[in-house]
Amino acid sequence: MSLLSALSVSASGLEAQRSRAELLVENLANAETTRTPEGGPYRRKDAIFSSAPQSSPFSAEFQREMGSYSNGVEVSEIFEDQREPEKRFIPGHPDADASGYVAFPRMNPAEDMVDLIASSRGYGANVSAMAAVKDMIQKSIDLLK
């Protein structure tokens, strides 16, 4: 049933956009974080998307057996920004180095806000796709009334 698998394709889009939004919010929250478990300041994270079989394994398997196609999306990798941290001169700060510089995350809040808007728009587009497909399924069910 291709209409039902279209729903899980859209669901995979929702999931991917949500994980990306989570990372972006985490970046904003940690814009001033100088300590992390790995040591050093926080590093900006972002998601890399890749197209993948749809999220429901049963449906994906079934479609493959039927020789059909359906590409959902998934977060294939989360990468950390490798740029050098930003050095600010704050002598007396507990995390300052010998010459009084503290390493802060290299972060541009505007960058994260713009990505967050894009992510939220993407989420909305997937919701619209889901609503349209749901409407089609409902129409098919109504044939029997």
């Binding site: 590409n71 894009a118 796709a129 889901m130 349209a132 409407d135 089609m136």
Partner: protein
Amino acid sequence: MADPVLNGIALRLEHYMDLLGKRQQLVAANIANADTPGYKTKDIDFQFEFASLMEGGTPHVIEAPGLAVKNDGNNVVMERETRLLSENALRFSLASNLMRGEIRRVRSAIDEGR
């Protein structure tokens, strides 16, 4: 292929709705992959598939031609996809209403026979 209950129109409608469903699935996949680097917009040649696949079967998926590719290798145009999304839904709605008429015709033949 003569069906004793539903006539040729109903069979064509069934095929039409099936094809619309498949196309809607591709549109949903394009929207889900709107931010995937290197992803190319997928589509089916609707008129061609409708004319050539009356007996059922799987339509050929092609990459939609003539779309500008962005820096990350992705060429999904959101406006195109949302237009197709609502166009497919409207066509499906029309087809399902016609189909309902066909089914009602059969049902009234059954009911009047009682």
